[in-house]
Amino acid sequence: MKLMNRIPAAILLASFVGAAACATAQPPKDLYTARSTYDRVSHGPSAQLAAADLQSAKESLNLAEKSFSDNGATQETSDLAYTATRRAELAEVHARTAADMRAKQQTDSQAQTAATANAAKTTVALGQANAELASQGRELQSETERRKDAEKRSAQAAADLAKFAAVKQDARGMVITLSGGVLFTSAKADLLPQAQLKLNDVANVLIKQDPDSKISVEGHTDSQGGAAYNQDLSQRRAQSVRDYLVSRGIAADRVSAQGFGSTRAVADNASPEGRADNRRVEIVVQGAQAPTASATP
């Protein structure tokens, strides 16, 4: 009986000693490592980016903890702890990989957005360049047509002039020469009625010409009389013709008047015919072309 009483006590003591030993036993190094690894990983991005892997690691760690709690620092506990460490590391690696892939997707997306923006920018620039080119082409066409038209009108005007005035070409441009005897009475600067008719025709021709061309009306006398008198008379006559042309519609800023007296004789002043030729008004149209065969009315 005594023995019977002592056996349960021995078993109880053995159980107590075993439990105490387990409770105070140091966890194996693998379990320490598993705990610290899980703790580190669970506080990192794995919680968001690899939650399932982290849960798997947690379950492995729980198995290791239970093994240690139940059996102490056994080889099985170390193996389970080792596995838990690897599971936690796996979660960490998966989280890093997910972050890398996200970064790549973001970079690809940004590159795609930039490429699309560049393509759109290029398209807009190309459209603008094409529009500009088309506009320049139209302007060029317009300018070409304007020049052709001006040349045509100028040629037509010159041909018309040749029918009733002496027209020639020199360095200054097209020169229309009108005899002074036809335009004025002697020593006067007032236009004769028939001179006005002739100048009407001249004005009509000049109006048809290039509106940008300048017109210079130059008065000339013969050598009879004083130089100052002739200079004054030639200036007044040039001015008279100039004013009449303006009154007939020629733009005032296109036409100027200048007298030269007898300084620019074109014939011998010793003869009446030569003096008649020298008494004249020349209308110089700068840049215009005279007809190839000049004519005298």
């Binding site: 080889q75 099985e76 193996d79 389970l80 080792y82 596995t83 690897r86 599971r87 590391e89 796996l90 690696v93 998966h94 890093r96 990989t97 890398d100 892939m101 970064a103 790549k104 970079t107 690809d108 940004q110 590159a111 930039a114 490429a115 560049n118 620039a125």
Partner: protein, 100 residues
């Protein structure tokens, strides 16, 4: 045994054997599979199972590390390409502005 060997094979096929970050874990998996085979031969199934548990964990980690290395290289490549494109775009814009 099949799970561990399958994971080890996958890791090796993904180049874990040549990727520095994965080589150690792949080697550990190989060693543990070998230990498991010895345990099986000795009739110690419990030991074999635990070795295979370790081997599977190492093989899967090796596989993940190999994939990570690929993903990192791919991300770096995308970044380099993006930077090159940005540089080219900046140069093209500068040239276009200079031409205007």
């Amino acid at each position: 045994m099949a799970d561990a060997e399958s994971a080890e094979r996958s890791a090796r096929e993904l180049g874990a054997g040549t990727k520095s970050s994965a080589q150690l874990n792949l080697k550990l998996a190989d060693d543990q599979i070998a230990q498991a085979k010895i345990a099986v031969r000795d009739g110690d199934d419990e030991r074999a199972n635990l070795e295979l548990l370790r081997a599977t964990a190492d093989a899967e980690l090796a596989l993940a590390l190999a994939r990570e290395e690929d993903a990192k290289a791919s991300a770096q490549g995308a970044t380099n390409a993006s930077n090159a494109a940005a540089t080219n775009t900046a140069a093209a814009n500068a040239a276009a502005n200079g031409a205007q």
